[in-house]
């Protein structure tokens, strides 16, 4: 039928002309890529690597500027129609019809794909069950939470069984439970229906479940192979270190990550810190073994030891990327922390955390019996917690758990139906405006003025926070430098790459040096290196005494938090430090496993 490969690209090039200038941007620069029939292939790489462009070309939405691209045995550029009939594509932002209900959206796509009535009646319940949308069947798509929309988009793309399924970051904003289910479904489809799947993702654990992984960067294939082969690149260079007593793991992690000459990557993991050291001269200078170097480095940064750890795909990926960047000797960009900031933050890290810990921390957010109802639906039910100054507080929960509702109430965007809410010592019911001067807010989706440039956005938000004149100018200069945005200060905000947008949002929220920073899924949809840089900044801010309240669907990011709260169906399931929560979930595993177990247990408890 289609031969051994269902997608075969040779020397594929794509160039975009920038409007109103003679500049051209090379999106794909001679890509060789093949997807074997019946295989699950992952595309990974930083923002702007060309993943979406490639997918769109496979669908025939973009014509190649060079090279060849065969899809399902035909040249897609010349005769797109036969192939398109057999492709299922889920774009990054799946355009659901928000006025239509879940079921109506699914029916529409069933009809468009020519699924017969009987077939549809068989398939739809299956899809609804798989995406856990069955109970929302009659809800308009516009009223679903972000993650549920994502799942509905996938269900629509799967309305009939295609030969080739293309998924562009399908799990952005999807909670770990749903993500697991989604991947079970995908693997099932590949096995049962001999489907070929190409998926782009920012989750390396997802890529690890694929048959092949292509690492793209800057429009070129950096590396490819089975996950094991890529993993091998970091084999023997991964270590775990336990932080010295009383020292938060994220401080050790930040110190390690700052030493980019030696350390390729560092992340907190289960109370310890996992780090990868570079191969080559720096690591083994003076005839030392890699292990010795790692231990020395770990101790320097506040760790107790350095135990070799098995490599994961993420380690391999980061190693490949860092080495590439080093080889190109590129200017610092979103993958690296600017030197100035790095230096500035190191000084904060020299604080003695014990003193701050022993003293009772000042409470800056106090929530008692918080309730929010929408009609008869209870979105947030009797929630109580406090957050102390300088704490990093994580709000976790499945899609639709009430996280965003809680968040909006904390920021004063939504009045509470009951309970008390004190933020920065001010009751939000009576003095919303006064509380707002003390808080910074970064929304889930980019919500700055896309038509203004970077500097104008900063000037605007600084101005409305009452900064002006020299103070404002100096603060802007400071933040531009801190976030590495100087070179782009006159770029239009809407055209910035994802990582930069996220940095600008942070910069705008920090202009007035808020005591409390609210971040709603700040890392959804940005790439791994940008996420590292992001958390590095959070660590620095917390060290300065800024309180950070954050939601995320990356469970490993919960490891950066001092305490986390797990919410489901509006109720608090767990509250405590990541270690405590993991311990209470039983059988110490990854944060993700703990999370899934806690939510499942609670749901089963409710069901019986």
């Amino acid at each position: 039928m289609t031969g051994p490969f269902c997608v075969e690209a040779r020397g594929l090039r794509k160039v975009f002309r920038v409007r109103r200038s003679h500049r051209v941007v090379t999106a794909l620069n001679g890509i060789d890529l093949a997807v074997p029939s019946g295989a699950l292939v992952a595309l990974v790489g930083p923002d702007g690597a060309g993943k979406t462009t490639f997918m769109r070309m496979v669908c025939g939405f973009l014509a190649p500027d060079g090279g060849s691209l065969n899809v399902l045995g035909a040249d897609i550029a010349r005769e797109p129609e036969p192939a398109q009939a057999n492709i299922g594509y889920m774009p990054q932002r799946f355009g659901l019809y928000e006025d239509l209900t879940v079921r109506e959206n699914l029916e529409l796509y069933s009809d468009l794909y020519g699924v017969s009535r009987t077939e549809r009646d068989e398939r739809l319940p299956h899809l609804l069950a798989m995406t856990e949308l069955a109970r929302f069947e009659t809800r308009p798509a516009g009223q679903l939470s972000g993650g549920m929309k994502q799942k509905l988009g996938l269900a629509c793309a799967l309305a009939r069984s295609p030969e080739l399924l293309l998924l562009d970051e399908p799990s952005v904003g999807v909670d770990p439970l749903s993500r697991q289910e989604l991947w079970d479904v995908l693997l099932g489809l590949v096995r049962e229906e001999h489907l070929s799947v190409m998926v782009s993702t920012a989750y390396m654990d997802e890529a690890e479940r694929c048959d092949f992984v292509y690492v793209l960067d800057n429009g070129a294939v950096l590396a490819h192979g089975a996950p094991g082969e890529l993993r091998a690149r970091a084999e023997g260079r991964c270590y775990r270190t336990r932080p010295a007593p009383g020292l938060p793991a994220r401080i050790v992690q930040a110190r390690l990550a700052d030493d980019s000459a030696l350390v390729a990557d560092a992340v907190p993991e289960g109370g310890a810190v996992r780090f990868v050291i570079h191969a080559g001269s720096a690591a083994t200078e003076g005839g030392r073994s890699a292990g010795e170097t790692a231990e020395e480095e770990a101790r320097r940064c506040g760790g107790l030891d350095a135990v070799p750890a098995p490599a994961r795909l993420e380690d391999g990926f980061m190693t490949i990327l860092r080495e590439q960047r080093k080889a190109l000797a590129r200017k610092p960009d979103e993958t690296e922390i600017p030197q100035e900031e790095s230096a500035a933050l190191s000084s904060y890290d020299k604080f003695q955390p014990e003193t701050g810990r022993n003293a009772e921390p000042e409470v800056v957010i106090e929530v008692r019996d918080l309730v929010r109802r929408f009609g008869s639906f209870v979105a947030v039910d009797n929630t109580s917690f406090t957050v102390g100054r300088g704490e990093v507080f994580g709000l976790l929960g499945p899609n639709g758990a009430g996280k965003t509702t809680t968040f909006r109430m904390l920021c004063g965007l939504l009045p509470a139906s009951g309970g008390t809410l004190r933020v920065a010592g001010v009751d939000l019911r009576t003095a919303r405006a006064r509380a707002r001067e003390h808080l910074g807010y970064v929304a889930q989706k980019f919500s700055l003025y896309g038509s203004l440039d970077v500097r104008q956005n900063l000037e605007f938000f600084g101005g409305v926070y009452g900064l002006r004149g020299k103070i404002l100018r100096e603060r802007i200069t400071e933040l531009l430098c801190e976030f590495g945005l100087e070179s782009r200060q006159h770029a239009t905000a809407g055209d910035l790459p994802g990582g930069y947008k996220q940095r600008l949002s942070m910069a705008c929220a920090l202009l007035h040096r808020p005591g409390i920073l609210f971040l709603d899924e700040p890392t959804s949809g940005i790439d791994v290196p940008a996420r590292r840089a992001f958390w590095r900044r959070i660590t620095g801010l917390a060290a300065q005494g800024t309180t950070v309240v954050i939601t995320t669907h990356f469970m490993e990011e919960a490891e950066y938090c001092d305490r986390i709260l797990i919410q489901d169906a509006g109720r608090v399931l767990e509250l405590g430090s990541p270690d405590d929560v993991r311990a209470r979930a039983g059988r110490a595993g990854s944060m993700e496993e703990a999370f899934i177990r806690i939510v499942k247990n609670s749901r089963e408890g409710n069901a019986t």
Partner: protein, 374 residues
């Protein structure tokens, strides 16, 4: 090639959206009703009873008679002013729109053969003013002939004079409602066809729903057809409302064939739909599509189609622009069919132009809606 199943699915989706959002129906059905009401009862370009101040400086019976003649016409509602000064004050306050002054030497002049009567009009409402002026001239003329007939003034031997006999065709009632109604129909079809459709289609581009649609086997032609079908329905419903009102509220004569009327309306609606789809596919933004559609379809339909202002009476450049737009041809044909009667050569030509426009716009939209992004 074209799949009826897919088109049906898309049309069903479109209808559901229309029903849920409501704003499309608002514009398709409520707006025509409001406009019918306003056009029918609110505005009229016909002048009724101009308030006029009369300054009688001559109090002879002859002058009084003149005033009576003025009252009798029904065009004026006169009021007496004691002096020119007072009358001017009244006009300044816009309590009257004109002043008629009969000077104190009126009787003497009249006896001598010819007497001037002074009329001052307020020129701001220029149309009303010039109509008032011609009404006044007519009233004076009638009065003069009455005087002559009665022998009150000497009928002099003269070399014969010309008088005007007027006949108005196609609008026996000489009511502006009759010519406003065709304009109303054109406006409604333009708004539903071009404006609404361009917004709805631009929204699909803006929200990324088209990218998801394009990933399915659906063809651009099907997407466009599925947009056209429901909005065609709304447009026809609006047209139906207007025609009912025209027939039963405003008693328009419907001189021409109803079938021709329907065919030409459908062609114009299709042309408008095509234009809306073309604009939205080119701009892909609701704000721009809305603005551009207003500029190239709605305003010309009001201004340049001959709705309010006669195209035969404007500078050639403006006339040429008017004749580039489908609304002009539809307006001309519609007025003829409603008020004048069948005129096959005109109908054939204008329907031809409309059909050509519809096809061109539609092909343009199809070209712009290829499954290509970026």
């Amino acid at each position: 090639m074209i799949s009826p199943v897919r088109i049906r699915a898309l049309v069903r989706k479109e209808i559901r959206q229309i029903l849920r959002d409501g704003s499309s129906l608002l514009i398709g059905l409520l707006l025509p009703a409001v406009l019918i009401f306003i056009f029918g009862y609110g505005i009229s370009l016909d002048l009724k009873e101009v308030p006029i101040a009369i300054v009688m400086e001559d109090s002879s019976p002859m002058a009084r008679d003149a005033l009576a003649g003025f009252r009798g016409t029904g065009y004026f509602s006169p009021r007496q002013a004691d002096s020119m000064h007072e009358a001017e004050e009244l006009m300044r306050r816009r309590e009257v729109d004109a002043i008629l002054r009969i000077r104190n030497d009126f009787s003497a002049n009249l006896a001598a053969g010819s007497a001037p009567v002074q009329l001052v009009v307020h020129g701001i409402d220029s149309t009303s003013a010039s109509l008032a002026q011609s009404y006044a001239a007519a009233a004076l003329g009638e009065w003069a002939s009455r005087l002559e007939d009665r022998g009150s003034v000497p009928v002099r031997e003269h070399s014969g004079s010309v008088y005007i006999e007027q006949r108005i065709w196609f609008n026996a009632a000489n009511s502006s409602t009759w010519y406003l109604v065709p304009g109303l129909i054109v406006i409604i079809i333009t708004i539903v066809g071009a404006f609404l459709t361009s917004l709805v289609m631009a929204r699909e581009w803006e929200r990324g729903t088209l990218e998801a649609l394009f990933a399915s086997p659906v063809r651009p032609l099907e997407v466009l057809l599925a947009k056209i079908i429901p909005y065609f329905g709304i447009g026809m419903a609006g047209l139906g409302l207007c025609l009912l009102a025209a027939r039963f509220l405003f008693s328009l004569p419907f001189e021409g064939s109803f079938r021709l009327l329907l065919v030409s309306s459908m062609l114009y609606l299709l042309a408008a739909l095509g234009m809306g789809l073309l604009i939205s596919s080119l701009t892909r933004s609701q704000f721009l599509a809305g603005q551009i559609t207003i500029l190239v379809s709605f305003l010309p339909a009001v201004l340049l189609s001959g709705f309010l202002f006669d195209l035969r009476n404007v500078p050639p450049a403006v006339r040429v622009i008017g004749h580039l737009l489908p609304s002009t041809y539809y307006m001309e044909l519609l007025k003829t069919l409603l008020l004048a009667g069948d005129n096959l050569p005109l109908a054939a030509r204008n329907c031809g132009v409309l059909a050509l426009d519809a096809v061109l716009f539609f092909l343009g939209a199809l070209r712009a809606t290829r499954k290509r992004l970026g």
